[in-house]
């Protein structure tokens, strides 16, 4: 068995291959400690960074993305397996460790820097650049619906194809036949002339000696055998028998448990505390003051959490104690008015002559919208387990950015990243929350002080009150309209802008557009929340568009159609949704139907929502969803993501409301931060269009369109235009009474 060095890994795998195409060749010498454990037996050859082939012809894809429920690991494995011409039954996958060799540049570029696709022409010429850049950024993020469209397209497919070509080269040399006479099929190399065939594994070692092509030939869609099939997800069996190990299930010898109380007002520090006997309470080892929080370490979580309740903490004043949600919205709206007066705003989109359009308009429609702060409320409460000793730190947790966590933990402990090992776990939900390392850093700091391994578990209350929230946002619109029903201009100004850059834009052909944003900062920490800025702008723009349609007395579906004549993909998605939903049918009193269209993360999604309003309460009966994501690698996986994104967005639209009171979050648990449950869940019908366009994402694009389609349906049912979420703050009982009288 050959051994190899870290240098060998880098020189042949990272530098030469850029981590996308060429992998980690086996070399005589020393094993690279970071990757060696991926090779679990002596007859396995690690032929590149993304795939290994075992002596039994079992093929393992090494997937640099985290699993938080989205099924990306299975889809990425499909992509590699198909290009490799492997048999699906021979495939399995493991998640790449949090090491620089597996950083994902494509995502860093596309998501963090901002909404750009990588030019196809760059792919074959990268030669190490990708990996160097990503390593510098310490990113290994799962987010931005990027797994398939970035890592899959730019990594897994190329890696699979390159590996196939290497195996063919090795077989040609061994059998002394031209490469052109060899094909790969079902994990075997076949010689067309003689009919001779042998397993991939026979050539794995020899293949590692060849220099891989930087431009391996990829399959065309017609030749796909595994991509496009709904394969059963590999992770589901362990999730139905209780054996899946989430971060909260990590078990480290001699581990203690910690419960924690963070500062109610963001930014406050614990000046002092009165233990009130908590330190003498059953099983308690220690009370640790982290500054932003106080933790109790005990022999079990129950004892730790009971002791924590006994402690009186004196928090510093930050100046935010008097703030509440209403004051923050008043601030946003004041700042927006000031910016409109001064003209001091940043352009997102500027086209045509907006001012002139408003001057000649026959009619102007305007409306102001708001959305509240939102928590993520992942099912698995935040947690991390850490051990710090002998200048080493190990952390066990689920992360959407394991490599970033490693560096941030190292920074917090004043260690070098090489002293930190991050053990990634499957996540009980992520939705953006698990890209922030706060909890893992806390666990490491507590474990360092306590001198024992510590599992830190946040209570649900801590989770709801110390999230990185979807920001509360105010957005203000005006549209200039003509008597003929033309939309002359679209004007929008909002505050708080993050990613993706294009989120506030609209696809409609309106000549004069002005979309601008301002900053209006708050003390409330923010972070990405499923679909990020699309989550608010989808609601704003697609609701206001319906107001425009109403103002010009046009059907909202027909007006969308009329303004999409140059966008065949959008039109096809919209038309399909309208057709499947039965758009145009007459509805009974108390019922409503609304439509929305949203492009995000490379995919186009239309939704039609049916609601019924009964005794003042709104019930969502049915959602028809159509997605064009170019190509669905795993159709059932895409359907599952649409269902999931819709329910997540529906929970927010119906109930999601984090209020700031006295500078702190008022809500605390699922009784006052409600989410959709079984009895409220609508029927969801998803239709997939494989248009052949560049592949888009699936994890997030289902979310933005549900709130506006719902609000538009509610308007039709009740006549009430919902301009502020959540819907639960509205009283629809009046409309019901009115309808009763009419009928």
């Amino acid at each position: 068995m050959g051994k190899w060095t870290r240098r060998a890994v880098i020189s042949t795998g990272v530098i030469a291959g850029g981590g996308l195409v060429v992998g980690v060749a086996l070399r005589p010498g020393h094993r690279a400690p970071d990757i060696a454990h991926l090779v679990t037996s002596d007859d396995e050859q690690l032929i590149n960074a993304w795939v290994k082939i075992g002596g039994d012809n079992h093929i393992t894809a090494i997937v640099a993305h985290s699993e938080m429920g989205q099924g990306a690991q299975t889809a990425l494995t499909q992509m590699l397996a198909d290009e490799l011409d492997a048999r699906w039954q021979d495939m399995s996958f493991i998640e790449a460790p949090a090491e620089d060799e597996y950083a994902n540049w494509a995502l860093g570029k596309g998501f963090v820097i901002g909404g750009v696709d990588i030019p196809q022409s760059l792919v074959p010429t990268v030669d190490g650049l990708f990996m160097q850049v990503t390593s510098a950024m310490h990113l290994q993020i799962t987010g931005g619906s990027a797994s398939v469209r970035a890592t899959g397209v730019y990594g897994m497919r190329i890696a699979g194809a390159a590996a196939r070509e290497l195996l063919i080269k090795a077989a040609a040399a061994q059998w002394e036949v031209p490469e052109s006479e060899l094909t790969a099929k079902h994990s075997q190399i076949i010689h067309s002339g003689s009919g001779r065939q042998a397993d991939f594994s026979e050539f794995a070692a020899a293949a590692a000696q060849f220099k891989p092509s930087r431009t391996p030939r990829l399959k065309s869609v017609e030749d796909f055998e595994i991509m496009g099939r709904s394969v059963a997800r590999h992770d589901i069996p362990s999730k139905v028998d209780g054996t899946a190990v989430f971060g909260i299930d990590a078990d480290v010898p001699d581990m203690m448990y910690a419960a924690i109380q963070g500062a109610p007002v963001f930014g406050a520090q614990a000046l002092e505390f009165n233990a009130n006997g908590a330190d003498q309470s059953t099983g308690v080892l220690q009370i640790v003051n982290l500054g932003e929080a106080v933790a109790v370490v005990a022999d079990g979580y129950w004892n730790a959490s009971q002791a924590l309740k006994m402690i009186d903490i004196t928090w510093s004043k930050t100046g935010s104690e008097g703030l509440d949600s209403e004051k923050l919205f008043a601030q946003f709206e004041r700042d927006l008015q000031a910016a409109k007066q001064s003209g001091d705003a940043t352009d997102d989109v500027s086209s045509g002559d907006v001012e002139a359009a408003f001057e000649r308009a026959d009619k102007v429609v305007e409306a102001n919208y708001r959305v509240p702060f939102l928590a993520h409320a992942c099912m698995e409460p935040m947690n991390a387990t850490a051990r710090v000793d002998n200048n080493k730190c190990e952390v066990w947790a689920g992360s959407q950015n394991p490599l970033g966590f490693k560096y941030e933990i190292a920074d917090a402990l004043e260690m070098d990243a090489s002293q930190v090992t991050f053990h990634q776990h499957t996540m009980g939900g992520g939705f953006g929350r698990r890209g922030t390392s706060d909890v893992a850093v806390q666990a490491a700091r507590i474990a360092k002080v306590a001198g024992v391994p510590v599992k830190l578990i946040w209570s649900r209350e801590e989770d709801i009150r110390h999230d990185v929230y979807r920001p509360a946002v105010a957005s203000q619109f005006r549209a200039a309209l003509s008597d003929q029903g033309d939309v002359l201009a679209w004007e929008n100004m909002f505050h708080e802008k993050h990613e993706p850059d294009e989120a506030p834009n609209i696809p409609y052909d309106i000549t004069s557009k002005s979309i601008q944003h301002i900053e209006s900062l708050t003390h409330v920490p923010f972070g990405p929340w499923r679909s990020v800025d699309h989550s608010q702008h989808g609601f704003f723009t697609e609701s206001f568009f319906d107001e425009v349609a109403q103002a010009v007395d046009k059907d909202p579906y027909e007006l969308r159609r009329a303004l999409l004549s140059d966008k065949p993909r959008h039109l096809a998605v919209l038309d399909r949704a309208a057709k499947e939903a039965g758009w145009g049918e007459k509805l009974a009193a108390g019922r409503g139907r609304g439509i929305s269209l949203q492009q995000s993360f490379g995919s186009i999604v239309a939704q039609v929502v049916d609601v019924s309003v009964n005794q003042g309460s709104v019930k969502v009966d049915r959602v028809v969803c159509v997605i064009d994501l170019g190509f669905a690698v795993s159709p059932d996986g895409v359907r599952a993501q649409m269902e999931s994104g819709i329910i997540y967005g529906l929970s927010a639209a119906l109930y999601g409301d984090i209020n700031i009171v006295d500078g702190a979050v008022k809500q605390s648990n699922f009784h006052d931060y409600q989410v959709v449950r079984m009895r409220e869940a609508p029927v969801i019908e998803t239709h997939i269009i494989n248009s052949g366009a560049a592949w888009g994402g699936a994890g997030e694009p289902g979310t933005p369109g549900i709130a506006p389609a719902l609000a538009n349906a509610v308007y039709q049912a009740t006549g009430t235009r919902v301009r502020q979420l959540p819907l639960s703050n509205y009283d629809f009982s009046y409309q019901f009474v009115e309808e009763e009288e009419v009928s």
């Binding site: 979580y301 939900g429 079984m678």
Partner: protein, 163 residues
């Protein structure tokens, strides 16, 4: 000392009698399939059976289950294989993150034991205490109905995308 009978095995535990059953199961017995979600019986992630009835282990003191039979997710499959509800979950590809699914399955098993072929209303009633943040309610409903109607289907890996 507290005596607990979990999945047919007796355990003597030296714990605070007011400690919720959840923590005894997870930390003392190392049966981590049962999950912590809210601590106030709002989400159902901690659902286990006490004498066949679903209970929220996060609010049930260990002292309250002495003498009873506790069953966790680890205790519902047999040496013959998965419980039909577990198989139905695989067939319908229910789980996404999977964190809530132990609790969902325990609630579904209890429902089907009481009502072998449940209606939509029965499912709404029995399953609305279990939150799934990944929103797999439609699949959970289908899986329960498949068991109820005796059609625990096999998953077809050959299914292709339709435009």
């Amino acid at each position: 000392m507290i005596t607990l009978r979990v999945n047919g095995e007796e355990h003597q535990l030296d714990v605070d009698p007011s400690m919720p059953l959840l923590w005894a199961i997870r930390e003392k017995l190392k049966l981590t399939g049962t999950k912590f979600g809210c601590g106030i019986a709002q989400c159902g992630a901690c659902t286990v059976h006490l004498n066949g009835q679903p209970i929220r282990s996060c609010v049930t003191p260990v002292s309250a289950v002495m003498g009873g039979d506790v069953t966790t997710i680890e205790g519902i499959s047999s040496s013959d294989g998965l419980h039909s509800v577990q198989q139905a979950w695989i067939d319908e590809q229910v789980a996404q993150c999977g964190y809530c699914q132990s609790g969902q399955i325990m609630s579904a098993v209890a429902l089907l034991r009481q009502t072998p072929n449940p209606s939509d209303e029965d499912i709404d009633q029995a399953m609305s205490g279990n939150i799934c943040r990944c929103g797999m309610y439609g699949r959970i409903r289908s899986a329960i109905k498949n068991v109820g109607q005796g059609v625990v289907q096999t998953y077809d890996p050959q299914e292709t995308a339709h435009g």
